[in-house]
């Protein structure tokens, strides 16, 4: 197993674990954590598999573009986490709940 494939598989495993956690856990903090783990998994796949020209034998570290993109992705993930936490804290203050409840409608 080559190194890129190994990192990609680890990343995919993180994504799948996180998707499971996102679905089964009711507590909102756990859902937010699950999304954070999932984004780490996606970033790992992105960085692990990146190469600039397909077929060419370039060392992984040689391609800075996906690293810049993942850096942007990390900023986005931090912003999402902050926004989600602010909303959850507010919900807790208002209702004492830290779950979504079952007011989905159907």
């Amino acid at each position: 197993m080559t190194q890129p494939v190994f990192w990609a598989l680890v990343g995919m495993a993180l994504v799948v674990l996180a998707l499971y956690a996102l679905i089964v856990h009711a507590h909102l903090l756990r859902k937010v954590l699950a999304l954070n783990v999932m984004s780490s998994g996606v970033f790992l796949v992105f960085i692990g598999l990146a190469r600039r020209t397909p077929g060419e034998d370039v060392p992984m570290a040689a391609d800075p573009v996906p690293q810049a993109m993942v850096l942007t992705g990390i900023v986005v993930a931090v912003a999402a986490t902050g926004l989600a936490l602010a909303l959850i804290v507010r919900l807790r203050v208002l209702t004492g709940r830290t779950t979504l409840g079952d007011d989905t409608g159907d």
Partner: protein
């Protein structure tokens, strides 16, 4: 394509920058000057709409507009591009945006807290939408999708009630999940192609390793379907759209859902080169299920805003019925779906604004207690009924043209199941629109305290509803912008197994 893609487009690039940076500057100014948020926001909205009009005219005259931000070339730099499809959606966004802005000045007049936060968030949302429509690389599209999701979730929470917060949190979680799924696809495409530029990726996809491209396409489209609220991913939409303030519901239902649909369409037609037949059939089945399920649930709602939100679930379904028809050769189905998307944007915004008026007027939105609203708010009820005409798909509305084109494609291919769904969806839509209108004519059992509705709120709803009707009369003007399919799709190779017709 009738638009000349090689034209230089002299004025286009400047206007393209304007449609993104004007609302952004407006949002920042509104944030810095909370006391002046409404006037500053209104000016920014007017300027943004004016530059969108200028961009639309420039693209209609000179063909696709392109610009490289900072002068960096395509593989590394960020490329912006506005073609017919982009400007059609930009123009719809501007029409809804400027009217909702007018409405919002009256709606939030007495609520300083909501007014202070509405304007910067709404202009940021508009910025994200416009940036999404002009972005021409996969990663930039990811960033705009996330910006859009954050602005939309924050706006959903604007009311501050527990229901609004719950809706906003669910919306945010779904939105981030959808974006991550999309980003996973981008990562795999970068692995295969070494670029994220749409045109370069489209050229590379046929030669790239097929399994990786199929997984990438699947992840991206699944993430976007989640954001578009296609059945069975619609669970988050009604609570979020139903609990937000009226102007927010209007932009969420009319515009935000269309943005991810636009991206599905863009990927399908321009990047993946048409996609596989069975994927298209699956989308068609989900679309048909959405039309029926959404309409039936809309009919069963007791609250007006939830009825309108479920109607959005149903109308989104129509957009996906176009996929199997278009893949089998009926490119007219794309035009139909886009026409429906534009008409739905205008009509649904009008409906939510009307619902906001009724809510303001009676203090509630229970359909059974609308209490002769037609005598007291005739303009609002006219707006609701006219918007309903377009949602039902009666002539001469924009919704009629869209459904007609879809039906034409379905009849040509003898897809009578889809024909039945399209017609049945129209009948069900008529049922839920008349349910509301009927109660508005009938006196309710109890007399209620009522509040005056500012005329600006009534007129803006009516304006949008009228625009949805007039859209049906402008087919020759608009259809050149909406020609998708053979020209761009035929050149690329189909993706998934068993692809092609």
């Amino acid at each position: 394509m009738p638009l000349d893609p090689s034209g230089p487009g002299l004025a286009g690039p400047a206007w393209m920058l304007a449609v993104v940076f004007l609302p952004l500057a407006g949002a920042l100014l509104c944030f810095l000057l909370p006391r002046l948020a409404a006037p500053v926001g209104l000016v920014a909205a007017a300027l943004t709409a004016a530059s969108t009009l200028a961009l639309t005219l420039a693209v209609m005259a000179d063909g696709t507009a392109r610009t490289q931000l900072g002068g960096w070339a395509a593989p590394l730099g960020i490329l912006w591009r506005a073609d017919g499809l982009s400007v059609a959606l930009l123009a719809m966004t501007a029409a809804v945006g400027v009217t909702v802005s007018l409405y919002a000045t009256a709606y939030f007049r007495n609520d300083e807290h909501e007014r202070t936060f509405f304007w910067p968030l709404w202009l940021l949302l508009w910025t994200a939408l416009n940036a999404l429509f002009v972005s021409a690389d996969l990663f930039n599209l990811y960033v705009t999708l996330e910006l859009l999701g954050f602005a939309a979730a924050s706006l959903t929470a604007l009311g501050g009630s527990a229901a609004a917060l719950t809706g906003a949190i669910r919306y945010l979680l779904v939105s981030v999940l959808g974006s991550l799924s999309y980003l996973l696809g981008v990562a795999l495409i970068y692995h295969g192609c070494g670029t994220v530029d749409l045109a370069l990726v489209a050229a590379c996809v046929p030669d790239a390793p097929r399994p990786a491209m199929q997984v990438a396409a699947g992840a991206m489209i699944a993430g976007l379907l989640l954001k578009t609220a296609l059945f069975p991913f619609h669970f988050w939409l009604p609570p979020a759209h139903g609990s937000a303030p009226a102007p927010v519901s209007a932009v969420l239902s009319a515009l935000v859902v269309k943005a991810s649909f636009y991206l599905v369409l863009r990927l399908w037609v321009d990047v993946l080169g048409g996609g596989g037949r069975w994927v298209a059939e699956l989308l068609g089945v989900l679309g048909a299920a959405a039309v029926l399920w959404g309409s039936v649930l809309a009919l069963r709602q007791e609250r007006l805003k939830l009825l309108i939100a479920y109607s959005t679930v149903a109308q989104v379904g129509y957009l996906f019925i176009a996929f199997p028809l278009a893949v089998a050769g009926g490119a007219v189905a794309w035009t139909g779906a886009l026409y429906l998307a534009l008409a739905h944007g205008l009509a649904k915004a009008a409906m939510f604004l009307s619902a906001g008026n009724l809510l303001r007027f009676g203090g509630h939105d229970r359909i059974a207690e609308l209490d002769s609203a037609v005598h007291r708010l005739p303009l609002t009820l006219t707006a609701f009924a006219l918007a309903g005409v377009s949602i039902m798909g009666l002539p001469p509305s924009g919704g009629f043209i869209g459904k007609w084109l879809l039906l034409e494609a379905a009849f040509e291919q003898e897809r009578f199941g889809l024909v039945a769904v399209i017609l049945l969806g129209g009948v069900l839509a008529a049922a839920y629109v008349f349910k509301v209108v009927g109660h508005a004519f009938t006196p309710a059992a109890r007399e209620r305290r009522i509040r005056a509705v500012p005329p600006g709120m009534e007129w803006s709803a009516l304006l949008l509803a009228a625009a949805a009707i007039v859209l049906g009369l402008t087919l020759p003007l608009i259809s050149p912008l909406l020609q998708l399919g053979p020209a761009s799709a035929a050149s690329a190779v189909t993706l998934a197994a068993g692809g092609g017709a």
